[in-house]
Symmetry: C2
Subunit: 155 residues, 2 copies
Amino acid sequence: MAEIKLTQGQKELVERLGVFYEKSGMQPASCRVMALLLVADQTELTFEEIQQSLSISKSATSGAINLLLTVNRVEYITRPGERKRYFRAKIMNWKEDMLKKIEEMTAMSVLLKEISKQRPKSTKEFNHTLIEMVSFLEFLQTEMPTIFKKWESKK
Amino acid sequence: MAEIKLTQGQKELVERLGVFYEKSGMQPASCRVMALLLVADQTELTFEEIQQSLSISKSATSGAINLLLTVNRVEYITRPGERKRYFRAKIMNWKEDMLKKIEEMTAMSVLLKEISKQRPKSTKEFNHTLIEMVSFLEFLQTEMPTIFKKWESKK
DNA sequence: TTTTTAGTTCTGCAAATACAGAACTAAGTA
DNA sequence: TACTTAGTTCTGTATTTGCAGAACTAAAAA
């Protein structure tokens, strides 16, 4: 039987980080799983370990994990001769994740551009502000590699 | 009677931008209002104009607007001798908004730091990645003014 | 003083969400 | 062959949300 023991402090961290993740709109159970995978001493947990340490049902566990798998926040490995999967947070590729987030913001800038195109010329300042936002978002995206480089060199 | 006429194209833009905003977890009606205030020819709309052009109830309109006011995405002005308020998107301060978003991300980095502190030393790579994320988020926050400056100079 | 305007607030309901529990499945084990 | 393991899938239900509709309020207008 699986037995992951969390200290009181760890349990609190799971809840706090879980609540933080919830703000992004993800379902509570997935948020808890994500948090657990960062907080637990072991970085690779089985289905059962996740289920029992969060005290949630199998269906909730299954749903939560699969959601995280499809949005690419979690991955799993297997071990030779074992059928069960070991789930872990996909944090190694946090840089790509961040780039993707920036790209999502730039997706909005496409919409903003469309909007500014169809606006009447009379609302000059407003239109200008829109265009500035678009410009900055596009700049930010192209600038990200440089920002990463600068950070690396400063470490 | 208020009469804001939206073209078909504008209506579609309101929906598309509205859906985009919904991804952030905000309630649909607020997202439509936000989108409308960017798309409509007039940049300042009254309660009634918002209500009728989105075809939503007064209570939904009230709730949506007040939410946007409290999260500082919308503001209103009044005109001498008029009681009604004219609502408009608060886009002039998009820079501060962006800084605030970065700060929210850094709020997470506080949690991540706590987590990395309580982790066992044995999961070395994992811990290191966590610390790197924290480090980058903090760097990004301090770097934002520089990034803005670079963008301005490039325009 | 009644009426209009510009909203707010209070039910109540319909739809969506999130999860538990139980039945099920597919692969490996005894 | 039956049994265990590691999940998945299918109800059902409790909770949350999102909004309509109606009643209400406070200021101004008639």
